[in-house]
Amino acid sequence: MTQIFIPPFQLSKIIEHVWFIGMRSMVVILLTGLFTGMVLGLQGYYTLVRFGSEGMLGSAVALTLIRELGPVLTAIMVTARAGSAMAAEIGVMRISQQIDALDTMNINPVRYLFTPRIIAAVISFPLLTALFDLIGIFGGYLTGSLLLGINPAIYIYRVKESVLMTDVTGGFVKALVFSLVVTTVCCSRGYFTHLNPQGGFGAKGVSSSTTTAVVNSCVLVLVCDYIITYLLL
């Protein structure tokens, strides 16, 4: 595994994977971020209004998104879109002997397949998380201010006032950790398709590896989220 961090880092492949993991996940991140923010705005408003604190909606939406939901939902959405594809692609390479071919050519398969994906994920996850947070806060604004009548200036003021730099860096730390978790788990599941106890080879083996990769990644993201939150608080 230490081979992953040995140069050269295959710049063109990294760019290709940043495009795949980052750019091509943008639509799904925009949609999920927007609707998550809108739901938070809706739920938050009807909870806060009971205590006469609906003016705090901006804080509630922004902190929930930046500290928790932004990094976690981004990681889960990217796992579903790009992580599953990584596991399937590498799994197909395994069963069609392409990974054996790399071995015979003196090319370290782990470094060749994992490194560009991991670096691309480390670049993409924080940016996608930032996008998710921003569009989510905008979604909260849409429901809170435009639909339910909270003063837009108060909403924006509460967002600016309540969000501290530690909240932002905490969210980015989570995004970085999740990027490593998701790519390592998804690439590994594909790579070890032939060792899958539920039927290694063939289409069934690849499908099983892909499913396991997505499930394991999502569970690990939530476990890591708890641990990082505990350490940051």
């Binding site: 069609s96 002997q97 054996d100 071919a101 071995d103 050519m105 003196n106 090319i107």
Partner: protein, 254 residues
């Protein structure tokens, strides 16, 4: 007496309870085409994978150019693999790379050659194998015969000392089979590499072989020239070559 270039000495290999190699002794000589024949599933491909290091033996020794493979350090294994190529049964071309990238891969990633040198070597090899002009096409866009040539170009582009062919004619029609056999022979003579070919194509493959070995029930039961194997009195050998007695119950029913 000429010393073998690659030598298997009492090599054993099992996958769980399946004993694939039960004491294989085999000598492969430098600059020759050695053909390994045997029934399906008898361990021919496993034998090849031992030479390139994709599988490791449970016991026994494999000696390559005077060096014991299992005792080699990482540097020696790297050096050895740089001199050895493997042509897979299903070609194992990279679907997401075009023909040029497929052939160039061992040079750019394995040997870390410059872009200019890589380009020159790839184009030269493509020209020699008469596949010029398809650099930008992907494996899925090629015919079976073209894929074989691309796989062969990739195997030869590093100018290897040893090329291992795992059933290179599987799935090809008789005309293509002869073409691939001819191609192996022609390039072996031109480049002088040591070739080990695993094949079922009997007697066609004997035309290009200098030496033939037959594996049966995990052991090499015959080694010799094509003429010697064709004249062998060994029951297992003659039955296999003549397509008899593979599965008694099926042949007797027929």
């Amino acid at each position: 007496m000429v010393k073998p270039f690659i030598e298997f000495k009492d090599v054993r290999k099992s996958f769980g309870s399946n004993h694939v190699m039960r004491g294989v002794n085999l000598s492969i000589y430098e600059g020759e085409i050695t053909v390994v024949i045997g029934k399906s599933g008898c361990g021919k491909s496993v034998l090849l994978k031992h030479i390139i290091g994709l599988e490791a033996q449970d016991s026994g020794s494999i000696i390559m150019g005077g060096e014991e493979l299992s005792a080699m350090d990482r540097h020696s294994i790297r050096r050895f693999r740089n001199k050895t190529s493997y042509m897979f049964q299903d070609n194992a071309l990279f679907d997401s790379l075009n023909v040029f990238e497929n052939i160039a891969l061992p040079l750019t990633e394995g040997l870390a050659l410059s872009r200019r040198e890589t380009r020159e070597r790839v184009l030269a090899r493509m020209e020699q194998l008469e596949i010029s002009g398809i650099e930008g096409r992907y494996p899925a866009e090629l015919s079976g015969g073209m894929k074989k040539r691309v796989a062969l170009a990739r195997a030869l582009v590093t100018e290897p000392d040893v090329v291992l062919f795992d059933e290179p004619t599987t799935g090809l029609d008789p005309v293509r089979k002869n073409a691939v056999h001819g191609m192996i022979q022609e390039y072996q003579q031109r480049f002088g590499f040591t070739a080990v070919v695993v094949s079922h194509e009997i007697p066609g493959i004997f035309k290009i072989a200098q030496r033939v070995a037959m594996i049966d029930r995990g052991k090499i039961i015959f080694q010799g020239s094509p003429d010697e194997i064709l004249g062998s009195n060994l029951e297992e050998v003659s039955s296999f070559i003549n397509g008899r007695g593979v599965d008694e119950e099926w042949t007797s029913k027929g």
